[in-house]
Symmetry: C2
Subunit: 246 residues, 2 copies
Amino acid sequence: MLLIGDELLSGQTQDSNLAHIAKRLQECGIRIGEARMVADNTDDILTALNHLRKRYDYVLTTGGIGPTHDDITADVIAQAFGVEISHNEEAVRRLEAQYTGSNYVLNESRLRMARIPHGARLIDNPVSGAPGFMLDNVVVMAGVPEIMRAMLEHAVSFLKGGTLEESRSVRVHLGEGDLAAPLRQLQEKWKNVRIGCYPSFSDGKPSGVRVVLRSNDTTALESAFKALLGVLREMSENVEILQRKE
Amino acid sequence: MLLIGDELLSGQTQDSNLAHIAKRLQECGIRIGEARMVADNTDDILTALNHLRKRYDYVLTTGGIGPTHDDITADVIAQAFGVEISHNEEAVRRLEAQYTGSNYVLNESRLRMARIPHGARLIDNPVSGAPGFMLDNVVVMAGVPEIMRAMLEHAVSFLKGGTLEESRSVRVHLGEGDLAAPLRQLQEKWKNVRIGCYPSFSDGKPSGVRVVLRSNDTTALESAFKALLGVLREMSENVEILQRKE
């Protein structure tokens, strides 16, 4: 993931796109390997993009494809791949359709949103018309969550997923440090199950932990989870199994 | 920023640390240049850390310093700097003080939290005892927001800030595309003021934009803001000046 926008780094906007995309991609059997947040700055976007697109199967970007001066993502993508960028006929047609009969004028600034790197395919935007696009292994989406979510539903149809990963999780009123040794043993036994342990605090005091097991090997997952429950129930009377999907 | 933890990339946990840290650092005249989120994986942490610590004045990390098997941050930091890591006397003393009289036992797993790379200075943790640390230009904090926030208050005393950046912002019921041309002109005129434009949507329709001006040159900021207000008031009767700090 490459999240683009000054507002994310200034703390002015709290990103919510990453979590949504992570969950949606998991349903397709795709795991996010790394996420980067950069400012609306050509060099920063270029450096991050070139690293990520070479290292991972896909890169999904959010932000920087609106009509204003700080929206430079499409141009930087074109630059990264060394292709031309210009007004895309189909994208212009979609903007015309969107603005016909609206209170807004399809001026030159708005038409900039139809500038698409050559060779890219469009990603539908049922919310505000201006499309995203996919070029090679890079998926380019809007930053506004409502628009991003709508684009993502189309974009996932372009992506090839792997095996679905499943998770099982449990909450228990023990300290993280009490669980550390048994969890380490379980992790050593079931190497293809990823075991995470997440403490919560209230009023500055530990208020229990959530243990999450993840794997795309269902048999291993169930065995590890059974073993985990056995261990936890020996340690506490208060073991709460959480919903399968969280 | 380097945010460490599988749970961030799986969408299971929604990060809120970045926005808090960004705002707090701004008060010290420090701006976040880039943020990366990586899994609890030695190679990924090492690669990101080595890049960031060479490129930026400071790197702040969150996550991976608890007592469980997936808490590997301190070890990776030691590895990155090529220094030893072992139980720090002062850190052990703090943990002993924290656990004395509590319902929890200071077992071997919890004592792991007192392992600190040699040469680092400790960062206080008034919430749960186990300290963070700063080694060279790298600040290492917990991922649990309550603990991170407490640590950050101590950590900022180690950091040297720059000129304070101020912001002015305004909300107006216009389309982003209507503002694009005048904002571009303002940006060209006031090059040391960063102008951002953030649209909001409700029910799939644009519901106005927020324009934010930022600069550490107060005179330029005020002039640009005055010019912006002039432009906006010609275009709309509905211009709302927002609080100075947001």
